[in-house]
């Protein structure tokens, strides 16, 4: 199949050999699980359990809330011991509402609603089951999967692209799941295709995963699922980039893949969909790569959602040497954290403990305008110009240069010879613009409230004055009538 060229991109050292040969092993059942109510893009889920409740594995513990949200299920059987704040798997380290579950060690499943003949299901039914299973995009963006299915079906998507790129260094969880569970993934892919009535199904896998490609080819056979080998390059696994390489189409600025008739899902999401439809199992576990130079035995673990990260690190035999930085996800786009009490969540693809030699921590020096970042940018932006505008607080100038199209892949920061934290500037600017937008919305709303109040006070004043005038007129009329009556009586007498 003909592939299309990709603009920019970088070639970071893969470091995948650390963990790629390690089979997926299940993590021993943790004592306590910290399940955050927000593990997805959108509104946090609302808990439907109380402290002291006994729950079974796979039982619903929090309901999706609003249009963009996702349900959350108990990862194991046990007792709910707390509903409160716990440190979030997020660079801010802020507390988030979390359900704390104490495991009873029995790991007993709730009654599951399995489907014998999944391919007889209607597309709406597949999406409804995916929603009920609380499945979100497992590539890292954690967008609720059912919503994407419904949006894509309604807009008539033609092409389904399955993302097996895994372009982030260190991570091997998608590679392992494709090698070990290819048949399930292919069935999941066919179910997703049925849910959106896709005509063409492409599975893009980078050429640095020959075993995964072979396994997926065997599983796919001569069916409608086509395995496509893509060159290894970062950020090949980004939604916009994989679409561009496989179809030659580019998503318009501010648009969604559905606008050009494409739906992209991660291969691990396809496995979760298979489990949800075939066995009725909700998304309560995922494969995580535990790796990095500071980890003694890098490995791939199947762990329950809510498992504290320190248990994953302990399972990999702990640290070989002090970790200079801890990262959730990949080293390019992952989020650093410091507290190992944070739980792993649905979107956690990796837990990395990096040595100081693995992280470039050089002091930033002035920009020499070499434009290496411009050549590296896969979106075709001018990172150096945007950063210069942001540095002098001209955020609108940066937006005019295309800040909103930045996918925050970090390629520019990676190649910058002056070590300027370019992507940090862009993340800051995007956050600040969002905050300004929120305060503007609030200001408009409060202005309306203030106007309403002024109007109401004026109306009350006016009504009071009118009522007084009416009473005065009535009194005068009465007095006049009394006077006239008196005069008439006098005249009569």
């Amino acid at each position: 199949m003909k592939l299309f060229d990709l603009r920019g991109g970088v070639h970071p050292e893969g470091k995948k050999s650390l963990s790629v040969e390690r089979h997926i092993r299940p993590l021993p059942l943790p004592k306590k699980l910290y399940v955050p109510l927000q593990q997805h893009i959108g509104a946090p889920a609302t808990p439907v359990v109380n402290v002291g409740d006994k729950v079974l594995k796979g039982q619903l513990i929090a309901n999706a809330q609003g249009a963009v949200s996702s349900s959350i299920h108990a990862p194991t059987s046990g007792t709910i011991i707390a509903l409160g704040d716990h440190v979030a798997p997020h660079p801010s380290g802020l507390p988030v509402p979390t359900v704390t579950l104490e495991s009873d060690g029995e790991d007993k499943w709730v009654a599951l609603n399995a489907v014998e003949e999944p391919f007889t299901l209607a597309p709406e039914d597949i999406a409804a089951r995916v929603a009920a299973a609380g499945i979100v995009g497992l590539g890292g963006a954690t967008f609720p999967a059912a919503l994407k299915l419904n949006l894509s079906r309604n807009s008539g998507v033609q092409t389904l692209i399955m993302n097996g790129g895994e372009c982030e260094p260190y991570l091997t969880c998608d590679d392992r799941i494709m090698r070990e569970r290819a048949a399930e993934i292919v069935e999941g892919i066919r179910l997703i295709a049925q849910a959106v009535a896709a005509k063409e199904i492409l599975v893009g896998i980078e050429d640095n995963k020959p075993e995964a490609i072979a396994a997926m080819r065997t599983a796919a056979g001569d069916g409608e699922v086509k395995i496509v080998v893509m060159p290894s390059m970062y950020p090949m696994g980004s939604e916009k980039q994989i679409i561009q390489v496989l179809t030659g189409k580019e998503i318009p600025a501010g648009g969604r893949p559905a606008d050009i008739g494409v739906l992209v899902h991660n291969v691990a999401t396809a496995f979760a969909v298979h489990q949800a439809i075939r066995f009725g199992k909700p998304l309560i576990s995922r494969i995580v790569t535990v790796s990095g130079g500071a980890i003694k035995t890098p490995c791939n673990v199947e762990a329950l959602v809510g498992t504290p990260v320190q248990e994953l690190i302990a399972f990999a035999d702990g640290y070989a040497q002090p970790a200079a930085r801890l990262v959730l996800g990949g080293p390019m786009m992952g989020q650093q954290f410091t507290n190992t009490d944070v739980p792993m969540v649905k979107g956690t693809s990796g837990v990395l403990a990096l040595m100081s030699a693995e992280i470039g921590q050089a002091e930033a020096s002035p920009c020499i305008r070499c434009s290496t970042c411009v050549r590296a940018c896969p979106v075709g932006l001018l990172p150096l110009e945007m950063a210069a505008h942001i540095r002098v607080a001209d955020l609108t100038g940066a937006v005019d240069l295309g800040l909103k199209d930045c996918i925050a892949c970090g390629s520019c920061s990676y190649v910058c010879p002056a070590h300027i934290p370019l992507v940090h500037y862009f993340n800051y600017a995007k956050g600040d613009l969002a905050a300004q937008e929120r305060s503007k919305l609030k200001q408009e709303a409060t202005k309306k409230l203030a106007d309403n109040r002024t109007e109401r006070i004026a109306r009350i004043e006016r009504e009071r004055a009118e009522a007084m005038a009416r009473r005065k007129a009535a009194r005068e009329a009465k007095e006049r009538a009394a006077k006239e009556a008196a005069a008439k009586a006098e005249a009569a007498a």
């Binding site: 927000q38 979030a88 997020h90 660079p91 801010s92 802020l94 988030v96 930033a364 020096s365 002035p366 920009c367 150096l384 950063a387 210069a388 942001i390 540095r391 607080a393 002056a418 300027i420 934290p421 370019l422 940090h424 500037y425 993340n427 800051y428 995007k430 956050g431 600040d432 969002a434 905050a435 300004q436 937008e437 929120r438 305060s439 503007k440 609030k442 200001q443 709303a445 409060t446 202005k447 409230l449 203030a450 106007d451 309403n452 109040r453 002024t454």
Partner: protein, 179 residues
């Protein structure tokens, strides 16, 4: 020759003079239009935090240049930038950024339900009734502080808005001369 020039110039002068006189009467501009436009941009809660009597006073001061564009605390940085763009001046954001966003909060254990605070609230952000605990609608509060002034028990206080995952974002990188 001379006469015709004098006549024609006088005619022209008279006609234009009349035109101007008519225009001044019928196309008269009431007040400074800029003031009205600026007032539209301001929050309109008449909270008085700027030190002027309400948003109209503030808009007048802005229009004649006697007040800085950073005068309005509830407007925040977005308003400062909008005003600076409107008036064509440089905005000094340093002072604005330092002020933490605040919100009024009722300490329920000492609220006596006197109803004074919700009567002065310019945005109807407080709900309550006599002898009942009052509450603040977070979305409607502009942190003007009027309720804090009238509360007899110091139950209503302005508190910094806690940072949540939704409102948190990365700080600006501190890199000195880089970029």
């Amino acid at each position: 020759m001379l006469l015709s020039a004098i006549i024609s110039l006088t005619m022209l002068g008279t006609v234009f003079g009349l035109l101007l006189g008519v225009a001044a009467r019928y196309l008269k501009v009431e007040g400074n239009p800029l003031v009205a436009e600026l007032e539209q941009m301001l929050p309109g809660s008449q909270c008085g935090q700027c030190g002027f009597p309400g948003c109209t006073g503030a808009a007048q001061a802005l229009a004649d240049g006697s007040a800085p564009v950073t005068l309005c605390p509830p407007g925040g940085r977005a308003l400062v930038q909008a005003l600076a763009a409107k008036l064509g001046v440089e905005a000094d954001l340093s002072g604005v950024a330092d002020k933490l966003p605040m919100i009024a909060e009722v300490k329920e254990e000492i609220c006596i339900g006197c109803t004074r605070c919700f009567k002065v609230c310019p945005t109807d952000a407080i709900m309550g009734a006599a002898q009942q605990i009052h509450v603040v609608f977070r979305e409607a509060c502009t942190a003007c502080g009027k309720c804090e002034e009238v509360c007899p028990t110091e139950s209503v206080k302005l508190q910094p808005i806690p940072v949540t995952l939704q409102s948190w974002h990365w700080n600006k990188p501190q890199t000195g001369s880089a970029a």
